[in-house]
Symmetry: C2
Subunit: 302 residues, 2 copies
């Protein structure tokens, strides 16, 4: 089995994770962020700059970021939904910024009352604004591997969106398995197609463990040469279907499997598990992470 | 990605699953068994014939099997720990019988107060008795991918056990990931070694999802040409570490991933999910199956 030597994990617990949990105190968010910054993770999605009425969980994004102690060895990013959010993110000092569009028209409309096509027009403007502000722009394509409303999503549609956003200047693309509909077959379909058209564009995958296949999907992507993945400490971020069920794949489960396979992540697994325990305390519920529950398969997996 | 066209799943919920849950009523066991027999599954581990004081959950094995309505298209098996159990299983009419030995000496001693070597001597006698009774003998090698007491288990040790039991007449071998310590790397190590020495021996893998890697491990094994897997409806069988955590990989998660990848299992996924719901009712706790919670990624996955 051919695998990359190194993988770059972007920790999304502080943003994507906490955004999908009941609101927690600003001080807890800062503590989580700072703790993650000391685990060896080299990329962290810190906050999103969204309207506080739409997403009260992120209403204190400016305060969280102002209070955090960034580690100079970590790349921090923020997610923004629009120009107003982009201005806030730039003012806060972020230089890696993510924007989102859904590959499924229905999903995009239900989320923001715009068609995918209309959102792509907005993104072109947004990408330009981010570049003007000195930031890079990553476009996250949500529902890449399936849509809870439309079902299967044609990889050709995903590839078309990639063509468009790259033409509009996007620096990187990410593919979100928004409701855990990916399987290895879907991963191969999308990655082969996008890589075929754009072999050199940085590409990141974001899996949910909703149906148990997150690590199988990551293993598949590794075999295709993908080296960038999102993951959420403890599996923070819940699930759209049921309390207790899995949403974001847990960072420690990803790191655990990769380390046992000899793939370097730079992460101190033991320190990460400590942070997952703290995350569990912060949200006040049991998080869906097997490695948090059971510990590493052997001590000292690094 | 090269995958087999067909996979044979052995459902272990009625035995391995229920044996690791709080005891349930005989009638519920029979209902579960009969319901599974109607899902298209072609192999079911029905009961074990063990001492009722050691494992009260299986004290009514004879009654369960006598009351069940076997489907002629399904192969049923039973697990036995010793000659006494073997006689009971043969008398009950089983012709596919499993016996267990642990690759880890410490694990074997803690379970049955015998060394692995002593157990192998017992197995030789047991295999002969099963053959005399007209049954086939499958040897399950527990802790193949790691031991909670000893840590890593040398694949050479596993291979040595396989050599021995095959020399003693075993018809098939199975490898148990007893506490969920397998990763794709461990799967490759063991399967390559055993297949290299015994290319034609039927080989089955039994994974736990304790650390989230069960489907990644199955995907790895599929790529190595393995076509036989255990799985437990709903993920019945709990976990040695914590209530609510995962033990046996859930059958519907395996079937779900395989069907979306075009691998045939013969199982009616929708019927299987109905049985998982019934299993949840029987044990009275939420089972750790994402596909049970969230449903298939699209309707009609078969």
């Amino acid at each position: 089995m051919q695998l990359p030597e190194k993988v770059s994990i972007r920790e999304v617990g502080p943003r994507d994770g906490l955004q999908n949990e009941d609101p927690v105190a600003t001080a807890d968010k800062v503590r989580l962020l700072d703790a993650l910054s000391g685990t060896g993770l080299r990329r962290i999605e810190a906050v999103s700059f969204v309207h506080p009425k739409a997403i009260p969980q992120m209403a204190d994004a400016d305060q969280v970021w102002a209070a955090a102690k960034p580690n100079p060895d970590v790349r921090y990013s923020a997610l923004v939904p629009n120009l107003r959010g982009a201005r806030r993110a730039l003012e806060a000092g972020f230089r890696e910024i993510e924007v989102v569009v859904s590959a499924s028209d229905t999903h995009n409309r239900r989320n923001i009352n715009r068609s995918t096509e209309e959102s792509l027009d907005d993104l072109a403007e947004l990408i330009a604004a981010l570049h003007d502000g000195g930031a890079s722009a990553e476009v996250i394509v949500a529902t890449t591997f399936g849509c809870p409303y439309e079902g299967d999503v044609d990889p050709a549609r995903v590839a078309g969106i990639v063509d468009r956003v790259l033409a509009d200047g996007a620096d990187r693309v990410a593919f979100g398995d928004t409701t855990g509909m990916a399987t290895p077959r879907r991963v191969i379909d999308v990655v082969d197609r996008v890589r075929g058209a754009h072999p050199d564009v940085p590409l990141l995958l974001h899996f949910h463990n909703t149906r148990g296949a997150a690590l199988a999907n990551i293993l598949t992507a590794l075999q295709l040469g993908v080296t960038e993945f999102d993951a959420s400490v403890g599996g923070l971020g819940g699930c759209p279907y049921a309390p207790g069920a899995s949403g974001n794949v847990a960072t420690e489960e990803v790191v655990h499997m990769l380390h046992d396979m000899g793939v370097d992540t730079g992460v101190d697994l033991s320190a990460l598990i400590d942070v997952a325990r703290e995350a569990e305390r912060i949200v006040g519920r049991e998080l869906p992470s097997g490695v948090l529950r059971a510990g590493p398969r052997v001590p000292g997996l690094g």
